[in-house]
Structures are given as C-alpha cells and as structure tokens.
C-alpha cells in the first residue's frame, strides 16, 4: 500500500550518497560546530520519556465491541433448564448467526459475523451428562453452522448440515466429556468464518464440581481488519488492552480459575504468561489433576486449558501472550490484587 522508498540504484541515489559523503567532509571541516557534527553523525540517542509503558497501547476507548469485556469475563449461560423423563437435565440454548459491525480497537470497525450479535459468542455451560439442545437460526448473509468440540453423533457435528441464511437447525447431544471446549462455525471457507467472529466457549462441568473459585472465561482472539491474512489486532475477549486499561480485580488468597480458549486465526501459536506467579494447567480441562505447574503455556489453534492460581501478594501483575508482538498488539492485561472486596 505504501510506496517503498527503496528502489534500484539510480542516479539520484548516487547523488544522495555523494551528498552524504560531502556532509561527512563538511562535518570534518572546522567551520562547523560540534553540534552540527553531532547532526551529521546522528550521535543523539532518544530520551527515556518515550519508553513509558503506557505509551505502548491503543489510544481511546472502545464502546461498540458488542460485549463489555468486564461483563463477558464472568458471564456464563446455563441455558433454559428442564427435566426429561428419568430426571435427566435438559439445557436448551438459542443461538442465531447475525452480521454486525463491531469496534475491534478504538475507532476501528470490523464487519463481523456473530453468534447472538456478540464476539465471542456466549459462554455456554452444562454439567457432564446433561442433554444439550441448541436451537440455531441463521440470520446472517452467508451459510453457517455450529461445530461443537466434544463427543457426539456425526449429524450433530455441524459440518455437512450447512444452514443457509434464513434456515434453522437443532443440535442435540449429551454434554461429554467434562472439560473446556470451543464451538465455532464450520462452513467453508473455514478460516474466514472463524476469523470473522463465529466462536465461543462451551464449558462442561464434572458431575462433582471443581473446588469453589472465582471463575473467568478468556477467549484469545484477533482481527484481520485489512483482510491480508494476518491479524492487526490481538485480544483477550475481543477488545485489545481491555484488561490493561481496566485491570481485573483479584482478591488476595482467593483461588482464580480461567477457562482460556485460543480461537486465533492466521497465527499458528498463542500463549499465556502470568507475572509474579505460577499456575496449574488442566489441559482441555478433561482431568481433575493438573498437567503442569508453570507461568507460560502454549496454545495451538483450537487448543484450550483451564488455569488455576492464587495471588499471595497485593499489587499489579501483568498477564499477556509471550509472543511479544501479540502482547503489544493488544493481548495484554493486568490483575490488580488487593485485600478489598471485588467490585
């Protein structure tokens, strides 16, 4: 898009070089002051004011993201509950695909495809063994589906049963295994349908609940705003730097549990790094004993882990992708640990 200044060697380039050579001669001559010699050699380093960490972020605030990251973080949709014959719990969810322009960085608008008008889609939650029934209606402009990760029948897999605009489909399956699973559109072209925002988290709790904790859901996503197959914006829950500008309040000593799902497109890997602490990693959340105790964990596309940790010291602790590029393009947040009551 930009015109590259570098071009094959031309006479003008020669002139430039010659000119700078002359500038060197000029500098060497006593006619010039020391300051001018500095100018010629460029021996001036930038001051440290420009290194302020707060400079490295977006400017302004986002109001049109389709979700409030502070609310989305701790909101779980348990569906409409009823009992089937034999006492089995039935959870019914309603999802509809709809096109919506969303603000993915202050002042930057992206033509998203959404579930229920929000990116990420709602976090669905059930208990292992529940009968899950998802009423899907496609109100979007393109064909869509919902493909749940988990164990279910082929026709409930949301791949070949393409739902055209205006049509509906009911997905019905047992919630299993317990763990943390993504759901996303599987219509083709797949990459475009996911990248444009059709994804969400599906949490299946074990029959014996996990220990009480403060629970959060974090969808690692990003947006390719100029459609060049690489992301301009990276985020936790859509808004870059959302939890950096408004840190997440954490009570000292309280167990924190994060359901973290990587739905990033175009980049092969993503990661989560926690400052001043270590976390237990439950890979895919399908076991109740941790797989790892670390401060950096890697996520392939579609990979997800449940992370648990507790802060013993108050203060501001950063968390971000350890791909520094992602961090500086928005995938960065802060836990504000204190003794106070969480607002």
């Amino acid at each position: 898009m930009n015109h590259d200044e570098r071009s094959p060697m031309s006479r003008r380039d020669l002139l430039r070089r010659g000119a700078l050579g002359l500038a060197g001669v000029a500098a060497a001559s006593r006619a010039l002051s020391a300051a001018e010699q500095n100018l010629v050699r460029g021996a001036v380093s930038p001051p440290h004011g420009s290194h302020t960490p707060s400079n490295a972020a977006t400017v302004g605030t986002v109001s049109g993201a389709s979700i409030d990251p502070a609310v989305f973080l701790e909101h779980f949709d348990y569906g409409t509950v009823s009992r089937a014959a034999g006492g089995r719990t039935v959870r019914e969810f309603r999802l509809h695909a709809v096109d919506r322009e969303i603000e993915v960085a202050p002042g930057v608008w992206y033509p998203a495809w959404t579930y229920n008008g929000q990116v990420p889609g709602p976090t669905l939650r059930a208990t292992e063994g529940d009968l899950v029934r998802v009423h899907f209606r496609n109100s979007g402009s393109h064909a869509h589906t919902i493909h749940f990760h988990g164990i279910h029948a082929a026709r409930m897999d949301g791949v070949y049963e393409v739902v055209e605009p205006g049509q509906s489909y009911v997905y019905e399956f047992e919630a299993r295994p317990f763990g943390l699973h993504p759901y996303h559109c599987h219509a083709v072209p797949l990459k475009r349908h996911i990248a444009k925002g059709l994804y969400g988290a599906f949490i299946v709790d074990p029959k014996t609940p996990r220990p009480p904790a403060r629970e959060m859901v974090m969808m690692l996503n990003g947006f390719d705003t100029n459609f060049d197959a690489s992301n301009e914006v990276y985020a936790v829950n859509t808004v870059p730097f959302a939890y950096h500008h408004r840190p997440i309040a954490v009570r000292r000593g309280e167990l924190q549990r994060i359901y973290m799902v990587n739905v990033l497109e175009f980049d092969l890997l993503n990661s989560m790094h926690l400052h001043g602490n270590m976390f237990q990693v439950y890979r895919t959340g399908t076991k109740l004993v941790p797989d790892d105790f670390t401060d950096t964990v890697m996520f392939c596309q579609g990979e997800r882990h449940i992370l648990e940790f507790t802060y013993d010291e108050p203060g501001r602790f950063m968390f971000h992708a350890h791909q520094s590029e992602f961090a500086e393009l928005g995938w960065m947040g802060v836990f504000e640990v204190s003794d106070g009551v969480i607002a």
Binding site: M1, N2, H3, D4, E5, R6, S10, R11, R12, D13, L14, L15, R16, R17, G18, A19, L20, G21, L22, A23, G24, V25, A26, A31, L32, S33, A35, E36, L39, V40, G42, A43, V44, S45, P46, P47, H48, G49, S50, T52, S54, A56, A57, T58, V59, G60, V104, A105, P106, G107, V108, W109, T225, N226, E232, P240, F241, E325, E328, L329
Partner: protein, 388 residues
C-alpha cells in the same frame, strides 16, 4: 456588437449547462445511488517523515476520493500512543501530521502503520533511523556545502575545458557539440525516469504521470516558443542563447535533484561515503562542458561563464534547502519533469546549431554520431564509477 455578444453566449452556454449538470449529479443523489453499499476508497500517502529524539513525526496526505480517519497507530507491530493534527479525519487532498513518542533506535529500521477506521493499514518504512536536521544556520550551511560540491564545483571545473575547445577545428567542435547532446540526452532520460518514479509516490489525486507529461512537454514547448527564436539566430547571439538554454535546462534538472538530495538527507536515508564524491564530481563536470561547447569560438567574458555556471549549479543548493525544509513528491516530480522538458528543448537547439553550421551537408557524420554515443557512454561510465 450583437454578433460578438452572441459569440460569447455560445462559448459560455455549454459551460453553464455542464456546471448545472454537475450540480445535479452531486446534489441529486446519483452518486449515492452509484456508491450504494460500497465501502469508502481510502488512500493515504506519506509525504514527510522527521525524527527527533524519542519522537516520530509523519505528514500524510489523502489522495483518495473519500475522507480517511486514522484510528490507531502501530510502530514495529505494536500499538502506540499518538496525536494527530488537525484531527484524525483527513479529507480529500487534506493533510495531517501524526506525532508518535517512540524510542526509535539509531541506524535501525522502523515501520509505522496507520490503522484507519475501516481497518485498512497504511505503512511507511524508515529504512535507517537518524535524527532529522533542525532548521538552523548549520543546516543551511551543510546544504550550501553540499550544493557547492555537488552542483557548482563540478560545473566550474567542466567550464575549464573552454580554452581547449576554442582551439579545436570545426569538425572536432561538432564532435564536442554532439558529445554534449549525448550527455544531455542521458541527463534528460534520467530526469524523466526520476520524475516518473517520484510521480509514482505522489498521492493518486495529484496524478503523478500527468504532472510529468505537462511539466516536460509544457516546458519544452514554452522554451521553444519564447527562447527558440533567439537560439535560431545566426552567429554568436544564437550560440550564446543556446548556452544559456543549456545552463537553464541543467539548472532545472539540478533543482529537482537538489530537492531529492535535501529530502533524503532530511530523512536520513543514506550511509556515509566520502570516496563517492570523486566519482560524483567527474560525473557532473560534464555538465560544464555541455554549457561551454556552443560558445567555444565566441570568447565569452569570464563573468558570462560564471553566470552560466551559477545558473546551472546554484539551483542544486536551492533545491537541497527546499527539499530539506519542505520536501513534497509533487514538487520534486514537477521540477524533474520541467528539467527533462528543458533538456529536450536544448538538444533540439544544439541540433539546429550544428545543422546550420554544416549548411547543406548532413548533420550526421561518423564524428557527430560517434560524439553523441560517446556522450551517453561518458555519462554511463562515470555513473558506474559513482555506483562503485
């Protein structure tokens, strides 16, 4: 009287109708209908980049049909804080200056990307980061020195061939004149190439290629109409006019190059290489030869020679200062194409000079043809020397 008035009416009527039609299209919603649903076409061109310690400043111009709103700024793939003046929305042919407090690293490359409200990115690479010169006496001192070495001294040295030329036989003088034409054709082609290249960097709405066309053809025809008659005159007066025209053409060419030098120096786009000066002076001293060749037999005054040299050389200083202070690709394109047009006119004048002196004989002899080719080869060869 009536006849005249009605003639005016007939001249104006189509214009009035055209204006009314344009108003109708603009106001009548036809444009909205044609553009229904289409996203805005965005275009931003970087015009000027200056680096101060811990600070980047970029001037962009909107050369597209629609307003562009700069929403965010990324430097080296990181969102960065910034301010934009006069405001984030840049209207068609409008300009805005983006200021970024960024700890850039001396002599390394940096990439700035502007993210617009529609998610498009416009990128600019700073190939070699160096502090931009500030506008003080030292700044102008440096550019004067650059101009002196690049523009004036080589030409002055070239003028020293004058005594040699004066003693030449007529046919060898024609060889030198053909050589001069060869040098000028090379310079003209170079100016045209540079103008087109610079024109490609111009914001779309300014139509770089057409600036080159209007600038070069316009200058050629203007000089032909204004000065061509003098240059066609018999004898010393005509030859002197040709010399002045050559100096003017080279001067215009050098003005464009000066602009480029000043701009690239201001952008810190090159590395130091003092040894290049030698090759460079050889390269440009041929410009002096070109000026002095037509008047070799006329014993011009020293002051005349000095004035000719100044006309050809001083614009380099002016251009360098102007380019350093306020480089604009539009100006550079215009000056380079004006230079190309002026040089083309000079080549025509030179041809006429030789043709007239050879009267009924053909202009093209082995000597003149060889001279022309030799002129181009000399430029090519000294160019290689500089490139080395």
């Amino acid at each position: 009287m009536i006849a005249l008035r009605s003639r005016w009416a007939w001249a104006l009527l189509p214009l009035v109708l055209l204006a009314a039609l344009a108003l109708m299209v603009a106001r009548g919603g036809l444009l909205d209908f044609l553009r229904a649903g289409a996203p805005p076409v965005e275009e931003l061109t970087f015009e000027r980049v200056t680096l101060a310690p811990g600070n980047l400043r970029l001037t962009v111009v909107n050369g597209g049909p629609d307003p562009v709103t700069v929403a965010q700024v990324m430097v080296d793939e990181a969102f960065w804080t910034f301010t934009i003046e006069p405001g984030p929305t840049v209207h068609r042919l409008g300009r805005a200056t983006v200021e970024i407090p960024y700890p850039w690293v001396e002599n390394e490359a940096h990439k700035v990307a502007l993210l617009t409200s529609t998610g498009l990115t416009f990128e600019h690479e700073i190939a070699v980061a160096r502090e931009s010169p500030t506008l003080d006496a030292g700044f102008f001192g440096i550019f004067s020195l650059i101009g002196l070495y690049v523009g004036i001294l080589p030409i002055a040295i070239g003028l020293l061939w004058y005594p040699l030329l004066r003693g030449l036989e007529r046919r060898w003088l024609h060889f030198v004149l053909a050589l001069t034409a060869g040098l000028l054709i090379f310079l003209g082609a170079d100016a045209l190439h540079e103008a087109l290249e610079s024109g490609a960097a111009v914001a779309g709405a300014y139509q770089g290629t057409l600036i080159v066309l209007v600038g070069s053809v316009g200058t050629l025809l203007l000089l032909q109409a204004v000065a061509g008659a003098r240059a066609r005159r018999e004898g010393a007066e005509g030859r002197r006019a040709v010399a002045w025209l050559i100096a003017l053409g080279i001067g215009l060419h050098n003005l464009g190059e000066g602009l480029a030098i000043g701009a690239s120096y201001a952008l810190g786009e090159a590395a130091l290489g003092a040894f290049l000066i030698i090759g460079f002076m050889l390269h440009n001293s041929t410009e002096g030869l070109a000026i002095v060749a037509p008047i070799a037999k006329d014993r011009p005054r020293i002051s005349t020679l000095a004035a000719l040299g100044a006309l050809a050389g001083v614009p380099t200083i002016l251009g360098a200062c102007l380019g350093g202070v306020a480089y604009s690709p539009v100006l550079a394109t215009l000056f380079l194409s004006v230079g190309a047009g002026a040089i083309a006119q000079v080549v025509i004048a030179l041809y006429r000079t030789v043709a007239r002196e050879r009267e009924s004989e053909s202009v093209w002899t082995p000597l003149t043809a060889g001279g022309l080719v030799a002129g181009m080869l000399v430029m090519y060869g000294t160019g290689l020397l500089v490139a080395g």
